[in-house]
């Protein structure tokens, strides 16, 4: 089965690290949405519908879409919210265009850092009887996954260290003048501070459109959605084998089937993968069929995923460079869209005709998504 109408990305605004104190969250969201619209050459009057994604606990509000409605142009407009994950706003926006009932969608996600403790906010997402008392936050869950992988896959630690070096090198190119001081983040054994980054405030917006609208407006910088897949793991870590990512494998199959991709390892010019930790990136290589786990050490060691490698991964520097926690997934999708549109800036790939974006979020990457974007309307 495929899209009734194939959506394309015609505008993006990625603001992965925002120095707060100058603008309120409402203003940050407004600024980001307006930048995406300007990138698409549109105004809010051209937008038929909006989907936003945010985390109520991070925002300190019971229904945070309410506050954002005005900022994104939702007043007197069709607006919905997917608080499960930032990438789900992209997914629903794409489905709405694909249904043929909307010509355009603005999708927006954000992640502030004003909450006194992100870890405590995340801990409220653990079930109150078993996991919350551990205490468990998302990084702890990632660390459990890392420990399981180190145990199960020889060379995983070495490969993780290589990914850290690669993504930090990419980050220095993408952001030669850092927006703010960063550096080592929090640690949970075996995830070291060098393997994470300090959470920052960020926001991302994308404009999706139907082919007839794109043709009518003569938009040329289009990243067509050739494939999209998303899936979830169970919520209980004890019910999962953390060395595997069956939900991502399922999401990848869905996306690849839609994009008619049969050899994923050789199908893409580049990829953005959610590296909440380098182990997340490794596991995604396997589940996305980019690199089998027995080859992790060799391929990360020979630079296959570096800037000049066979498949550059995270030219943006990834989450390791900027970590606006909740919206990192949609940022990965927007990064690939910009690469395909030739608008990625200093980290632009020379020939990005088709790219793969991976979004993962939640405890040990519970939610998974894969998005194939390309210059051609149909793969």
């Amino acid at each position: 089965m495929g899209f009734r109408v194939q959506p394309g990305v015609i505008g993006c605004s990625i603001r992965p690290a925002i120095v707060t104190g100058q603008r309120s969250l409402e203003e940050i969201i407004y600024d980001t949405g307006q930048l995406a619209l300007a990138d698409a050459g549109l105004t809010i009057e051209d937008i038929d519908g909006i989907v936003v994604a945010s985390n109520d606990q991070f925002d300190g509000r019971a229904i945070s879409v309410m506050m954002a409605s005005g900022s994104v142009g939702g007043v007197d407009r069709d607006i919905m919210s997917t608080p499960s994950a930032s990438e789900h706003a992209f997914v629903l926006g794409a489905l709405r265009v694909a249904s043929g009932q909307f010509r355009t969608q603005l999708v927006v996600s954000w992640s502030p850092t004003e909450v006194s403790s992100l870890a405590e906010a995340q801990r409220l997402g653990a079930d109150p009887y078993f996991h919350r008392a551990l205490p468990l936050d998302e990084l702890s869950a990632h660390a459990l996954q890392a420990a399981a992988l180190e145990h199960a896959v020889p060379g995983a630690r070495q490969a993780a260290d290589a990914i850290v070096a690669k993504n930090r090198a990419h980050g220095r190119i993408a952001f030669p003048t850092p927006i703010m001081p960063t550096g080592a983040g929090p640690m949970r054994w075996p995830v070291t501070p060098e393997m994470t980054s300090t959470p920052v405030t960020g926001c991302v917006a994308m404009v999706l459109a139907a082919p007839d609208f794109i043709a009518e407006r003569g938009a040329r910088d289009v990243a067509w959605i050739q494939g999209v897949g998303w899936a979830t793991e169970t919520g209980f870590l004890g019910d999962r084998d953390l060395t595997q990512a069956p939900a991502l494998a399922a999401a990848a199959r869905q996306a690849y089937d839609l994009a008619a991709i049969t050899d994923p390892a050789n199908a893409f010019d580049l990829a953005e993968i959610t590296d909440a930790t380098p182990y997340s990136e490794l596991l995604a290589y396997d589940a996305l069929s980019l690199c089998a786990r027995q080859d992790w050490a060799a391929r990360t060691g020979d630079g296959s995923f570096a800037r000049d490698g066979r498949l550059p991964v995270n030219l943006s520097g990834g989450v390791l460079t900027w970590n606006p926690v909740f919206c990192t997934g949609m940022i990965r999708i927007a990064e690939i869209a910009n690469q395909v549109r030739g608008k990625a800036g200093v980290h632009q790939h020379a020939n990005a005709r088709r790219g793969l974006a991976h979004a993962g979020s939640g405890f040990a990457m519970q939610y998974q998504a894969a998005v194939v974007l390309g210059r051609e309307a149909r793969s």
Partner: protein, 393 residues
């Protein structure tokens, strides 16, 4: 590619109660899913994607509580996402499931959720947190005094009285007495309502919805799948959403962006749904309505916004005449509506489910005779985000 239409093939609803000490939150979701799958005569393996319906996390005391409901909906390794538009979440979730199917990507999609409002402690304390922390939260606003202000304004503009409000409660309680799933099923009189204590003038205790616990689920499918599998279905022919300003102050000043007495964006949402369904004269074409009205006064501006009457305010005399009773011209909330059952995460889904049952001819003792086309609505946030649907046999 799927055919154009999207059908409803299965419905499950809990018997809503104040408390469900026998069931955890995921248990309640599962209860509704089992009922819906049984109704659709399908196994969970047939479900290709899931839309999870959950409004404020704080009602169940778990952040992103949808993550703990994955197994309850059979969602493991399947496409799964959650919707939250406040009280509109249930109808927004059905709409999102609709877009899943209408996109051509899926043939069979489940939407499901549950709430334990009756066990959250105090829903108004939670709902105060929907407002901006600096300006409107400290007033302190809650959803009751917010809509009491709408009621006062409606009285001033259209002449609604407190007795008129009581008539809505009496009507809906009578309807709920016929609905085994309704939470408040005791019939009340106008005197009962008028002598109940004020909660926030002019809203009295019996003008208020309860805090309910329970779940709801629906199975949607493509027309092709329905035809190929010889399933019975009713059809979603109109879908819409629209929002108003977040700020209460912007609805009550000298130059309001939308009049707080009315439900401006609900009307805009209905315009979209009607246009999609080809409805030009809803007062004549609509047979039955389930309109989200958690307080008795808000049913009037919902009827107005749905254009079931000629002009705003006409709903008051028309309701006095019994036009919106079961057996009347257009029965409104024959299930008893939100006024008698409010498990917030799925309340607006229940509106869609109940209208679907009506046009299917399966509503039981609260069936509106001859209903073939119905409408449903949901309101979320601070009377801010509205979803609407048209359902046809």
């Amino acid at each position: 590619m799927s055919s154009d239409r999207v059908g409803i093939v299965g419905i499950g609803q809990s018997a809503f109660r104040s408390r469900r000490d026998d069931a955890s939150y995921p248990d309640l979701v599962r209860e509704a899913v089992v009922l819906a799958m049984h109704d659709a005569k399908m196994e969970l393996d047939a479900i290709q994607a899931v839309v999870y319906s959950l409004s404020p996390d704080a009602m169940v005391g778990i952040g992103n509580a949808e993550r703990l409901g994955v197994d309850a909906v059979g969602g493991r390794s399947k496409p799964f996402l959650r919707i939250n538009t406040g009280g509109a979440t249930g109808i927004s979730s059905v709409a999102a499931a609709y877009y899943h199917v209408a996109s051509g990507m899926f043939d069979v999609v489940l939407t499901a959720g549950a709430d334990k409002v009756g066990e959250c402690g105090d829903s108004q304390t939670v709902l105060n947190k929907i407002w901006d922390p600096s300006y409107e939260r400290p007033l302190p606003l809650g959803t009751i005094n917010m809509l009491a202000m709408s009621g006062v304004r409606y009285m001033q503009r259209y002449g609604m009285t407190e007795e008129d409000m009581a008539r809505v409660a009496v009507k809906n309680r009578r309807h709920a007495s016929l609905n085994p799933n309704a939470h408040l099923r005791k019939v009340v009189t106008i005197d009962d309502v008028m002598t109940s204590r004020y909660i926030s003038w002019p809203i009295k205790l019996l003008d208020c919805c309860p805090q309910s616990s329970g779940g709801a689920a629906m199975v949607l499918a493509s027309e092709r799948f329905i035809r190929d599998n010889n399933l019975d279905a009713v059809w979603i022919t109109g879908v819409g959403h629209a929002a108003e300003t977040y700020w209460m102050g912007d609805r009550m000043g000298n130059n309001p962006t939308a009049e707080h007495a009315d439900a401006y964006a609900l009307g805009r949402s209905f315009e979209k749904s009607y246009r999609m369904a080809g409805i030009t004269d809803p007062a004549k074409q609509v047979h039955v309505a389930e309109l989200y009205a958690p307080f008795s006064n808000t049913e009037y501006h919902s009827i107005d916004a749905a254009r079931l009457v000629a002009r705003p305010g006409d709903s008051v005399p028309r309701l006095r005449d019994g036009e919106f009773e079961l057996g009347g011209r257009i029965p409104v909330n024959p299930s008893g509506g939100t006024l008698c059952t409010n498990a917030i995460a799925v309340t607006a889904m229940a509106r869609v489910a109940e209208v679907a049952l009506q046009v299917w001819g399966r509503a039981g003792d609260h069936q509106a005779k001859g209903a073939r086309l119905g409408i449903a609505s949901g309101n979320g946030g601070d009377h801010q985000i509205f979803g609407t649907m048209v359902i046809e046999a």
